[in-house]
């Protein structure tokens, strides 16, 4: 079993993180997944939420991601997100703006894609309130 998991977070604009961590928690569509080294290979679809990286028992990194995928292999976890922002930078302002944009998109049309976007917006809004409570 490999002794460490390389967590990579990439958005279309840049490579945000590439580091060895003990555990990664990623928001998959069917529920959060905790990824430890030696995880079975998987490709999962993501919903809007938080990607957390744990190193030595504490949360070392937190990223807000919206949509995308994750590829998991025994030694690597690659999060390929449509949008990804470090949590610190994604303080409530960004999330609220994002929620507004998503809701505006939703009210314009009601195709399947947009419903998904609406769900993402709701998730982000929840996330925003959690963050505010924490601050």
């Amino acid at each position: 079993m490999p002794n460490g998991l390389t967590l990579e977070i990439v958005s279309p604009e840049e490579l945000l993180l590439s580091e060895t961590v003990d555990m990664a928690i990623i928001p998959a569509v069917e529920g959060d997944i905790g990824v430890l080294p030696g995880h079975a290979p998987m490709i999962v679809s993501l919903r809007a939420g938080l990607v957390r990286a744990q190193v030595a028992g504490t949360t070392a990194h937190e990223f807000v991601v919206v949509g995308g995928f994750a590829e998991i292999t025994p030694e690597r976890c690659t999060v390929v997100a449509t949008e990804a922002v470090p949590l610190a930078a994604a303080a409530a302002g960004w999330i609220e703006e994002r929620v507004r944009a998503a809701e505006a998109a939703y009210s314009r049309t009601a195709t399947t894609d947009e419903v998904e976007e609406r769900e993402d917006a709701l998730r982000l809004a929840q996330l925003g309130s959690v963050l505010r409570a924490r601050a």
Partner: protein
């Protein structure tokens, strides 16, 4: 023989032209640097995406119900070309060579009896193609006034393409853009988008051990259905960035040439000016001397 005054004005005007081209070169150089950094930053995403798509697509491609974005309609009668050039000129042959390349392609396709539609990206592409193929242009996108191309711009173009695919308006979609080979060399390139050119399975399989059998959550089809539109956007985004970097590279080279030419011209004009001045002085002297002798 031009008068001294007109030579002086010429020299001054060429000098100010040189100042402008020099400034444009500097601006292009700094923009190029930014564009290159952006293109570099976008690479990891495209690579990861390609890897995932490679492992997914191989398993789905053979099925009859495979998504259209992946396998197309099965015919090749109607073509959609995305022609990508710059919004602005003054960048050497960047736009014209791309449009020439596109024209050749369009002519070949039309000669083969195919139906062609065009989406232009960039004002120059639209303006240059409108004259010959105006009827074929179904849509055009420009980024005038935008300082930075974002992923959202690529998504917008991808959205248009998907819309047309849903309307069953084409069979094959090809992207024509300037690939950035180096600062001084941009190559007009065509890249097939639909049916998707499946990246070959990674050949470093030996290094990473046997090819992993992935589990999928949700199903393979659902992931693919989300991955393919994303992949389309990524391909377009990559081309946009390549083209943007190429444009600045081409402009830098063109402006460097222009500055050099202006320098040469100033030297030539200055020489002519000095000769003329000397000739005038000599003439005046001769007049004075011969005037004195006559007395």
């Amino acid at each position: 023989m031009p008068s001294l005054k007109s030579l002086r004005t010429r020299i001054n005007s060429v000098k100010s032209t040189r100042k402008i081209t020099q400034a444009m070169k500097m601006v292009a150089a700094s923009k190029l640097k930014r564009a290159q950094t952006q293109a570099q930053a976008a690479r990891p995403y495209a690579e990861r995406m390609e890897r995932m798509l490679g492992s997914l697509a191989a398993s789905v491609a053979g099925r009859p119900d495979a998504p259209r974005l992946l396998v197309g309609t099965g015919r090749a009668d109607r073509h959609l070309l995305i022609v990508m050039a710059a919004d602005r000129g003054l960048c050497g042959a960047f736009n014209s060579s791309l449009v020439r390349f596109a024209r050749t392609r369009i002519r070949t396709l039309v000669a083969e009896g195919k139906e062609v539609r065009i989406i232009t990206v960039g004002r120059r592409a639209r303006d240059l193609l409108r004259r010959d193929h105006g009827k074929l242009i179904v849509d055009s996108v420009t980024f005038i006034g935008k300082t930075r191309i974002g992923f959202a711009d690529a998504q917008a173009i991808a959205g248009k393409v998907r819309g047309l695919l849903d309307e069953d308006a084409f069979d094959v979609c090809t992207l024509i853009y300037n690939r950035f080979r180096s600062v001084i060399s941009q190559v007009p390139t065509e890249q097939r988008l639909i049916p998707a050119a499946i990246p070959a399975a990674p050949d470093d399989a030996a290094a990473t051990g046997p090819v992993a059998i992935y589990e999928y959550e949700p199903s393979e089809e659902e992931i693919l259905a989300r991955l393919l539109p994303e992949n389309l956007s990524v391909q377009i985004y990559r081309a946009l960035l390549d083209s943007a970097a190429g444009e600045q590279g081409a402009r830098m080279a063109a402006m460097d040439n222009a500055t050099r030419n202006a320098g040469q011209m100033i030297a030539r004009l200055t020489l002519a000016y000095n000769r003329q001045r000397q000739a005038n002085i000599t003439k005046e002297l001769i007049e004075i001397i011969s005037g004195a002798e006559a007395v």
